[in-house]
Amino acid sequence: MKNRKHIVICEDAKTRITINRKWCKGCEICVEFCPQKTLLMEGDKAVVRDIASCNRCMLCELRCPDFAIEVSEGTGR
Amino acid sequence: MSGRYEIRLGGSGGQGLILAGVILGEAAAIHDGKNAVQTQSYGPEARGGMSKSDVIVSNEEIDYPKAYRMDLLLALTQASFSGYVKDVKPGGLVVYDTSLVRDVCEGNYRLVGIPIVETATRAIGKSMVANVVSLGAIVELTGIVSKEAVEKSLMGRAPRGTEEINRRALHAGYDLVKNAEQKTTAGNR
């Protein structure tokens, strides 16, 4: 994914969550099934509520039907 | 009115514009005794994205059933405003929702901006009835069908239990127009 305006990155030392707002269709799957309640819906897009709570289980990424959310290790920036 | 009058209701899937077009067409064809043809977009264009419902009303027989030089465009999304406005005929009418359509370009047509969705949500309590509010606005603006006709048609199509809310939405549409500021531009396109 090229870094464009619609790409929103949320990051802490351990975790980096990237959401492609153009591709996100607002299905809420990532939010609903995140075991940590890390995510929430803001209008019809998923956003990170609390990056620190993420345990990087990857379930949101695995289940997002739209290739719109990506979880990786924080770059420590 | 005589001759052909073309209306396009443009928005996105789920806004109920197809139904609005059907109600309008039915009002004209069945209750006002005119001729009407309603068509709509199908396929990828219709899924999720832009949706359009075209109604042609005429006192004469309608041959060509597709809208091609619109007398009236209703735009409930920016995309439909931008995409369809070029097909409005000189001197035509463009009605748009003031909250959803922000980027309004002027041309050889009359622009009418009204808070349709807001009215539906605030006054009626259901954004879903924006389509009926629009209908009211169009009827008030153009008189293309009689109010009796559109009301009969609406009542025939409204699911049981929603008659009242729909009637209110229609009237809210009438009222919106009565109160609205009308911008008219006579561009030289």
Binding site: M1, K22, F67 | -
Partner: protein, 276 residues
């Protein structure tokens, strides 16, 4: 972490046409990961589909891709595989594609045990055409062609495949995203025909018409989660306890000779034995 799907996606074709919450995207991602994990050569993979929502998948995938006619994916795939048995041939179909109009090709391809890895995205409905009953729609459901409730009993696709002779049959749901991937990978490992049935939701054309069960697509995913039972956990359980459950996991694996391998033997015989 963070799998890079872009290597295998035709990014310029994205976002895909599927509705919000449609399970087809989950299947597509799992397939991509499975191909990656199995280390298949991108140039040697052929993905074949029929017609339907899920059958649009090949258009997004950066392989050799073949979007055919409704129901015929496996027949086209058979031709591809016969022409060049070294290709990795993958078929993706919907339930309508696979077992309504395509049912005959489905059972024959199972029978033949030809090396095609087949993913059936079973959403129990014809999504593409707007929600008509499919041969996997549950009894009683409302669809656009069964407004009084469906009276036409459904298939168990996996059971049908087993009876037809498939050598590898696995099932899971879109809720079990990781398992899809694993099951496809072991499907690749089976030399012959492998079926991976993935049960998924179509809220727009199915769920919406059955509001009593589903308020949103999320309810459909929840149902997948709740009704699924791993095949390993079913052992010994009485039939009554399994009612309404969907067995997931590898349901059947009985390796047998692959068809193009067997045909190679025919070629060898033919080039040696000469009859008049």
């Amino acid at each position: 972490m963070g799998f890079d799907y872009m290597k295998y996606l035709r990014e310029e074709k994205m976002p895909h046409i599927w509705c919000p919450g449609c399970g087809h995207g989950i299947v597509m991602k799992a397939l991509i990961r499975a191909i990656d994990k199995a280390g298949l050569d991108q140039d040697r993979v052929v993905v074949v589909s029929g017609i339907g929502c899920v059958s649009r998948m090949p258009g997004y995938l950066d392989f050799n891709t073949l979007h055919t006619t409704h129901g015929r994916a496996l027949a086209f795939a058979t031709g591809v595989k016969m022409a060049d048995p070294t290709l990795h041939v993958i078929a993706v179909m919907g339930d309508g594609d696979a077992v309504a109009i395509g049912g005959n090709h489905f059972i024959h391809t199972c029978r033949r045990n030809i090396g095609i890895t087949t993913v059936v995205a079973n959403n129990s409905i014809y999504g593409m055409t707007g929600g008509q009953r499919s041969p996997t729609t549950p009894l009683g459901d409302n669809t656009s062609t069964t407004v009084y409730g469906n009276a036409d009993p459904p298939f168990d696709i996996s059971a049908l495949a087993v009876a037809a002779g498939a050598s590898y049959v696995a099932r899971t749901t879109t809720y079990h995203a990781q398992q899809i991937e694993r099951l496809i990978v072991s499907g690749f490992e089976n030399r012959g025909f492998s079926l991976i049935e993935v049960i998924g939701p179509c809220f727009v054309a199915h769920g919406r018409r059955n509001r009593a069960r589903y308020k949103s697509n999320l309810d459909m995913y929840r149902e997948e989660k709740e009704t699924a039972i791993n095949v390993t956990a079913t052992k010994g359980k009485p039939q009554s306890e399994l009612m309404g459950k969907v067995t997931i996991g590898v349901l059947h694996h009985a390796p047998m000779p692959e068809f193009t391998d067997e045909y190679q033997k025919v070629i060898e015989k033919a080039t040696h034995v000469r009859t008049i």
